[in-house]
């Protein structure tokens, strides 16, 4: 079990020296010039981290219980334990809005427009059906009225 782990340790330390032939894919990358101060900071940060954890967990110079005593530390612990709250953030930003949108529009609002067209046609059909009374005088009146409209149109235009 240790063998593979040791291999991985070596690779993670030295892997950067192995040249991966990806230049034709990504092109030549430009040299980045980082200020000396930033460079020192970047190297120092993990070393300081190692030193602090050495003091806390190995020599126990700084007692864990005392460190965790304050409520601020508790909150910080919770926050870090949940991975900087990214799940929470994604839930609020993406998941909940998506689920909400899906829920309110399950029936596809665009289909509602076509359903409305159908309803209007049905209503118009219902109104026109009412004129189908079977009374001859009503039909005669309709024909006469229609003729009058046509003649008026003919005269006016």
């Amino acid at each position: 079990m240790n063998g593979p782990l040791i291999l991985l340790i070596i690779l993670s330390l030295m892997g950067g020296f192995i040249a991966v032939p990806l230049d034709p894919v990504f092109g030549q990358s430009e040299e980045h010039h980082v200020s000396g101060l930033l460079h020192t900071f970047m190297v120092a940060t993990p070393l300081i981290g190692i030193a602090i954890s050495f003091l806390i967990f190995y020599t126990k110079t700084i007692p864990v219980e005392k460190l965790m005593g304050s409520s601020f530390a508790q909150t910080l612990h919770k926050f870090w334990n949940s991975g900087w709250g990214f799940d929470w953030l994604y839930d609020r930003l993406i998941v909940f809005p998506f689920l909400w949108l899906a829920r309110i529009n399950r029936a596809d609002v665009i289909d509602g427009f076509y359903a409305l067209v159908v309803e209007i046609s049905r209503a118009a059909n219902g109104m026109i059906i009412k004129t189908q009374t079977g009374y001859l005088r009503w039909y005669a009146l309709s024909v006469a009225a229609g003729l009058m409209v046509l003649i008026t149109l003919g005269v006016l235009l």
Binding site: F98, I110, Y114
Partner: protein, 499 residues
């Protein structure tokens, strides 16, 4: 001449299948299968050297109604041949999916099936716009019967909706065709509906936009695209499985084919002006329908909405109008034809077994039907665009091409790939994982896929892997055609600009 044979074999086979029912109720399906297989074999003879150079093969041009310049003009190029092969292949699959399902009036069913296929073959090969419209209608009416007679609980509503949407927009296209032919008559003095003649018509101004919209609306209704998509979920959820296979696998592609062959090349200038709008509609289709798909509990409605979403990539690719984007659109058409047909067959198979499409009643099916679960997983992953399978090639090329045309819309559309994995995995999780519930249905019929079914799915899997691993064999067929279309459209646009 061979194209005439391809189409008439289906027409005649349909009639024989119908009549043969009197002799034996099992004859129609056998005759239908033989007919479509015969077509498939005949089609392979079209694959030849001429296609690689972008030429038309097997052309036939006979006078039909000479007084109006209407001819019976059929010819196929690489793009047509690819779609013909897809049609025949899925035709065989559709007959397979109907094999056990259709017991009632089988003769008439296979008659309708074969006539729909014949109409589709006509649509993919007609180069006379009147003839094209004729075949457009031929494929519509048998499909209406398939939904209205062999459909499920709400079949009349769905069939009528399908019919009205397609018929009304088809009429718009007919008006556009007539106006275009009239313009041709004014400019060259003779009436013609010939595609090559009409390509030379110069239409200017706002009228060109209106004629183009007639085609655009007809094709994007069939495709479909937002906001003309709402017939599709109803038609799919109500149609019998074979109907869904034909509908999703082939009929939708006639809309895409129409956009590539007619809508853009006939009106290059108007299309160029309209392209940002069309691409916006495509982006909306992709995202909106993916979201609505996720909200569905009816598994067939869900797959129907995913179809609309995937077809958005086709619209996006067509209106980006460069080679990569068009290649992507064509590959998406082919790959989606297989993956959507397979998913609808699986949903239909489930419904056939447990008599429900409601996903809330399903769960934990993996242990009961492991083979089916794996097949669903495969096609879901194909549909969501896994590299190595055909759909990825299509959607990736479409996005790559669209990126050169319109960056913001392409970036927005690319989110469709994420949405696709959300709803696909949700289906897998809901139906196949979790607790097995059998209170809602009789689970004694929940049997795994038979060997015959596995053969169909395996054939479609091979197709998708082939498309994903060696897409070049398809791209070489469509490439010369697409380059031709692009350059001729650009020629017209630049000459107009120069004038």
């Amino acid at each position: 001449m061979i194209l005439v044979w391809l189409i008439s074999i289906l027409f005649i086979g349909g009639i024989i299948a119908w009549l043969s029912e009197r002799v034996n109720p099992y004859y129609p399906r056998l005759i239908a299968l033989i007919t479509v297989l015969l077509d498939l074999v005949l089609m392979l003879s079209l694959l030849g050297a001429e296609l690689a150079t972008g030429g038309w093969v097997a052309g036939i041009d006979a006078a039909w109604i000479p007084r109006f310049g209407i001819s019976f003009y059929l010819a196929a190029d690489g793009l047509s041949v690819l779609l013909l092969l897809l049609t025949a292949f899925l035709g065989v699959i559709a007959i397979g999916s109907a094999w056990d399902e259709i017991k009632d009036r089988a003769g008439f069913f296979y008659f309708n099936l074969l006539w729909t296929l014949a109409g589709v073959l006509g649509v993919f090969t007609a180069l006379d716009l009147f003839l094209f419209f004729f075949f457009w209608e031929v494929m519509l009416i048998p499909m209406y019967f398939i939904i209205a007679i062999w459909g499920h609980e709400n079949k009349n509503y769905a069939a009528m909706k399908f019919f009205i949407f397609t018929q009304v927009t088809g009429m718009l296209m007919l008006v556009s065709i007539l106006v275009l032919a009239y313009f041709h008559y004014i400019q060259s003095g003779f009436v013609s509906f010939n595609y090559h003649d009409l390509l030379t018509v110069e239409t200017y101004g706002p009228l060109e936009m209106w004629i183009m919209l007639g085609f655009f609306i007809a094709f994007t209704t069939k495709l479909p695209s937002v906001p003309f998509h709402s017939w599709l979920p109803d038609a799919h959820s109500q149609a019998p499985t074979a109907g869904s296979v034909i509908l999703a696998g082939i009929l939708l592609k006639t809309g895409a084919y129409g956009l590539i062959r007619f809508a853009v090349p006939l009106f290059p200038e108007a299309s160029m002006t309209f392209a940002p709008f069309a691409m916006t509609l495509a982006a909306i289709s992709i995202l909106y329908c993916a979201k609505v798909a996720f909200a569905q509990v009816d598994i067939k409605r869900l797959i129907a909405y995913t179809s609309v979403s995937h077809m958005g990539f086709v619209t996006l690719g067509v209106y980006a109008w460069n080679e990569q984007a068009l290649q992507g659109a064509v590959m998406t058409m082919l790959a989606h034809g297989l993956s959507a047909a397979a998913l609808f067959m699986l949903a239909g198979g489930l419904q056939h077994r447990i008599h429900t499409r409601n996903m809330l009643d399903m769960g934990g099916f993996w242990a009961k039907v492991p083979r089916m679960a794996v097949v669903v997983l495969f096609f879901s992953i194909a549909a969501l665009g896994m590299p190595g399978l055909g759909n990825f090639i299509g959607e990736f090329l479409a996005l790559l091409g669209a990126f050169q045309a319109n960056v913001p819309l392409t970036v927005i559309s690319a989110f469709g790939l994420i949405f696709a994995s959300v709803y696909s995995l949700w289906v897998i999780q809901k139906v196949f994982h979790g607790e097995f519930v059998n209170s809602e249905f009789d689970d004694s019929h929940l049997t795994d896929l038979t060997h015959r079914e596995m053969v169909y799915y395996a054939a479609m899997m091979i197709g998708l892997i082939w498309m994903g691993m060696y897409p070049q064999s398809f791209l070489t067929l469509s490439q010369p055609v697409l380059i031709d279309l692009i350059s001729s459209a650009e020629g017209i646009v630049t000459s107009v600009v120069r004038n």
